[in-house]
């Protein structure tokens, strides 16, 4: 699996917002999904994931609901709020700008 890449500062929020923009998900599934979609390149540390989720929830960008998980146990599912959707747009745009800029220098 190799040493997981550290996430670029501040991008975890973007990843979380993007991930749950498709469907409500619980914490474990979010981590799993990011890992899978990035082809095992991005490993989300639990030490960062849960504080980030709670912070986003406090900011009102995502909201949580307790529902039954696929295993039948109660789990906390996170959904994007309207404000969160706006934030996602903003963060995506800013990420695109940043990565394009880095691209121009590196290539």
């Amino acid at each position: 699996m190799g040493k997981p890449n550290d996430l670029v500062q501040g991008t975890l929020d973007l990843l979380i917002l993007k991930t749950i923009s498709l469907e409500p998900m619980h914490g474990w599934a979010i981590a799993k999904r990011i890992q899978q979609v990035s082809g095992e390149v991005l490993q989300v540390q639990q030490g960062s994931l849960y504080p980030a989720l709670h912070r986003l929830e406090q900011q009102g960008w995502i909201k949580a609901k307790w529902a039954e998980s696929e295993t039948g146990r109660q789990a906390k599912f996170y959904t994007l709020t309207a404000a969160g959707r706006g934030q996602l747009g903003k963060e995506t745009a800013s990420w695109n700008r940043l990565s394009a800029a880095i691209d121009m220098i590196v290539t």
């Binding site: 849960y50 406090q58 009102g60 906390k76």
Partner: protein, 882 residues
């Protein structure tokens, strides 16, 4: 709308914290379960899968805390944690907590009480419209040097007519009435004042009931009208609003009640119970006189006019009157102005500020003491703190806890202090009803905010000092230091010694202040007033003119009464005087000339205090007759031609001459023959002896009041009731007022001094106790810290006396330094209270010596017990204890 949702969420987080914490735990557990399930699915054993999941997860406690940190209100939660922790540690040492809280309560309570007094009396604006522009107008007189003299009616009239600096000007006078009883009520004497009909509009005040005087009421020919005080209306008339437009009998004359003043209205002082119109009450001649300074003038400055400009203008007008009447020596040459507030509270200003400074000292001492106690606690908890720091406890966090502990102590102390202050203020209000603006004194929001500020300040002060002593950087040395067998670090001991020196220094200052005031009070009480004060009773009565129209009727009443009083068994002597007995105030003065002397140059006529007396007065009150004789018995109305002068009068105006047989011209150009010289009396304790002239009681045709003086060999108060019964037998409508013994008269005159000295004495005693407690605490602590060291010393052969001396010295050294500091500071500051001292120098050696002695004795006593305990240590025990 977003802030609204956020607000809702925040509120939710505030109240559902426990649930949220449980859910967070559940969420994290779910994560681990999922990971475990996945691991099992990959083919791990159940136990291996769980351990792998936990490993991957990291430190769950940390994750939980970090997630928790993102919630709102974390700082509040931390704060609550600190409060809980602080309260728990304090409860573990209830003795310490109780002492510290008590100390703070005394300090804060005294300050809040004094602050409330100072603010209510000195700082709060008067309850009148735009009070900043209200001023009291004075005449500036050069005869006798009265820069702030009362105004004469004629001068006031000219001011009012000519000046352009004021939007309005009103005049107030003095009065007193016999209020007759209706039905079964007793007649009583009421304190009264007069004011011109424009005073209330000038102040911006409306009567609570009824109306103000009209201009028509305010003239000599008007029907008599009166305004009642709220207190009198409630007490005497049952608060019945129908009193308006009814009549009451004042001096046996019917007055129509036109209104009732609001309860807070106390002008010019709180004892006033009825007001009548000035120009109605005073004879027109009096209101035109330019050299009878009998009124208080009030003005409202026009916007844009400064007090200095107004003074210049009024002075010019006054000067003109003076120059036009150069033959009258008692016309003032100028004018003066003071803010109305200053004129009402003038006398209490310095004492109140001195007392406020004293309570500030007490608070500082209390803070130092609590800081000292906290330092001691910090010392005994060094190891605990060192361990916490070694484990990674943040310094800020520890500092916060220190502050929180001291905040809890001061807050509890402050709450108790507020209660104390409330009680103290109730006491002051009841003990000093004579104080200016006493009706305005109560604890309000500002006083409570002040208390809160004090609490915060003290908490910060005490908490910071004790945390500064923490020296957190030396974790290792703390851990080593507190291991057995070595003595405590010296830094803390030194800090405590410095705090103690400061405390002792402040205590010395308070003690010296109190000592000076007490000594000057004792001096004041022991001044020879010039007459007998033991077993002498006085009472005032005024015969209403309506009923006693003829001077012969007045004389008849007084002679009959005197005869009956003298016949009471046990009464040794009795007599009359007017207007006041010695020690009861200035009374009055009058200009005079000596017929046998050359006429004084223009405008330089002498004046002297004047009294009226009957022949028996001097013997009754024990004023010695030095030369000649007292008034003859033939000094009846219309034929009173004799005068008696005091020794000071004879010395000043008849140097090297025999005054007997000379003549005085005074009292409306009548001539009196001097028949005797009597001893000097003082008009108030602590005042200089001044020249005084006595006229026969019936010298003035309109004489209708007098003070009866009775002396007995036994307890004289037992005659009060029989004499009042005799008076009632002669005239059942006549009230008798101010029935007092001479000792009470003098006590009333020195009430201020006794009040100030008592309060300052209490504060000083308080701080002495605090300083003693501080000394005792520090020394006990040092002894406890050095137990093993002392044990070793004794084991090695140190003698008990040596140990005793060692410990005593370490306690007495800060006390001695503090004493030196305090003496030096007092010497520098004592001058500030000079105006409150009588017959006592600010640098009174006896007081300084007594304070130094007291402090040394108390300090030695406080140090003795711990020192003695140290010298009795059993070395074996000492070395075993840790």
């Amino acid at each position: 709308m977003r802030w609204l949702t956020q607000l809702r969420r925040r509120t939710e987080m505030l109240f559902r914290r426990n649930g949220a914490t449980a859910r967070l735990d559940d969420e994290l557990r779910f994560h681990i379960e999922q990971q475990t399930a996945e691991n099992i699915a990959r083919g791990m054993s159940a136990e291996g899968a769980r351990l792998a999941a936990l490993r991957a997860f990291g430190n769950p406690a940390l994750v939980r805390e970090q997630a928790h940190d993102t919630w709102s209100w974390t700082s509040l939660e931390l704060l609550l944690g600190d409060v809980r922790y602080g309260a728990r540690t304090l409860l573990r040492t209830p003795g310490f907590a109780a002492v510290a809280i008590l100390v703070m309560a005394l300090g804060i309570g005294a300050n809040v009480a004094l602050f409330t007094l100072v603010r209510s009396v000195l700082l709060k604006p008067l309850p009148f419209a735009d009070p900043g522009r209200l001023v009291r107008l004075y005449e500036r007189s050069t005869f006798g040097d009265f820069p702030f003299n009362q105004s004469a009616g004629g001068v006031f009239a000219e001011w009012k007519k000519q000046s352009r600096s004021f939007t309005g000007m009103a005049i107030c006078g003095y009065a007193g009435y016999n209020l007759s009883g209706a039905g079964n009520e007793l007649p009583e004497t009421v304190r009264a004042a007069t004011f011109s009909s424009n005073l209330l509009p000038l102040l911006g005040v409306q009567p609570a009931l009824g109306r103000n005087f009209t201009a028509d009421d305010d003239q000599p020919s008007a029907n008599p009208t009166v305004l009642l005080s709220w207190g009198l209306w409630k007490r005497r008339f049952g608060g019945n609003p129908s009193i308006v437009n009814q009549t009451i009998l004042l001096d046996a004359r019917p007055y129509t009640v036109v209104g009732v003043m609001p309860s807070w209205f106390a002008f010019p002082e709180s004892a006033i119970q009825v007001w009548t119109p000035t120009y109605f009450k005073e004879p027109p001649g009096h209101m035109k006189a330019i050299s009878q300074h009998d009124f208080r003038a009030i003005g409202r400055l026009k916007p844009g006019v400064t007090a200095a400009e107004a003074v210049t203008e009024l002075s010019l007008i006054t000067r003109r009157i003076h120059d036009q009447n150069a033959d009258d020596s008692f016309v003032s040459v100028g004018a003066n102005i003071r803010p109305l507030l200053d004129s009402l509270v003038g006398d209490v200003k310095t004492p109140l500020y001195v007392l406020l400074a004293a309570t500030g000292c007490v608070l500082l001492i209390a803070c130092l003491n609590v800081a000292n106690l906290l330092v001691a606690r910090a010392a005994s908890r060094r190891r605990e703190e060192a361990i916490r720091m070694a484990l990674g406890g943040g310094r800020m966090r520890l500092l916060r806890q220190h502050l929180m502990e001291s905040l809890l102590l001061t807050a509890a102390g402050g709450a108790a202090g507020l209660a104390l202050a409330w009680g103290a203020i109730q006491w002051v209000v009841s003990a000093r009803p004579d104080m200016a603006r006493v009706e305005a004194i109560h604890i309000d929001g500002v006083a409570i905010a002040f208390a809160a500020g004090l609490i915060a300040l003290c908490a910060l002060f005490a908490g910071l000092i004790s945390s500064l002593s923490g020296r957190g950087s030396q974790v290792l040395s703390s851990l080593q230091d507190s291991s057995r067998g070595s003595s405590a670090g010296q830094a803390r001991v030194r800090l405590r010694a410095v705090l103690l020196s400061l405390e002792v220094g402040l205590t010395v200052m308070l003690l010296i202040g109190a000592g000076l005031l007490l000594k000057s009070y004792a001096r004041l009480r022991s001044t020879d007033i010039g007459c007998i004060t033991g077993n002498v009773l006085k009472m005032d009565m005024t015969l209403p003119e309506v009923k006693y129209k003829q001077p012969a009727q007045v004389a008849g009443f007084f002679e009959t009464l005197l005869g009956r009083v003298r016949n009471l068994p046990g009464v040794e002597a009795a007599g009359y005087v007017f207007p006041v007995v010695p020690g009861d105030g200035y009374g009055g003065d009058h200009g005079f000339t000596v017929v046998e002397h050359p006429a004084p140059s223009r405008g330089e006529a002498p004046f002297a205090m004047n009294r009226w007396a009957d022949p028996g007065y001097f013997a009754a009150i024990g004023i010695p007759l030095l030369r000649g004789h007292t008034f003859d018995d033939n000094q009846q109305p219309g034929h009173a031609t004799e005068a008696v002068i005091s020794q000071a009068f004879a010395r000043q105006y008849f140097p090297g001459e025999d005054p007997i047989g000379k003549h005085l011209r005074a009292q409306g150009d009548k001539t009196y023959e001097i028949v005797g010289v009597v001893g000097d009396v003082r008009f108030a304790a602590g005042e200089e002896v001044r020249p005084m002239m006595y006229f026969a009681l019936y010298a003035d045709s309109d004489m209708n009041g007098a003070t009866l003086v009775v002396r007995s060999g036994r307890d004289v108060t037992q005659y009060a009731t029989p004499i009042q019964r005799i008076v009632a037998g002669l005239d059942r409508d006549l009230p008798v007022s101010d029935v007092l013994t001479m000792d009470q008269v003098l006590g009333r005159g020195t009430l201020d001094a006794s009040f100030d000295a008592t309060l300052l004495g209490v504060f000083a005693a308080l701080s002495l106790v605090l300083a003693a407690v501080g000394l005792f605490g520090v020394l006990s602590y040092i002894v406890a810290q050095r137990t093993s060291e002392i044990g070793i010393r004794i084991a090695l052969g140190a003698r008990r006396e040596q140990v005793l001396r060692l410990v005593l010295l370490s306690g007495l050294r800060p006390a001695l330094i503090g004493l030196a500091l305090g003496l030096a500071a007092s010497a520098a500051l004592a001058r500030e209270i000079q105006s409150m001292l009588y017959g006592t120098q600010p640098l009174d050696a006896a007081v300084f010596a007594a304070v130094a002695g007291t402090l040394l004795v108390v300090a030695a006593a406080a140090c003795a017990a711990p020192a003695w305990r140290a010298s009795r240590l059993d070395p074996m025990q000492a070395l075993r204890t840790e």
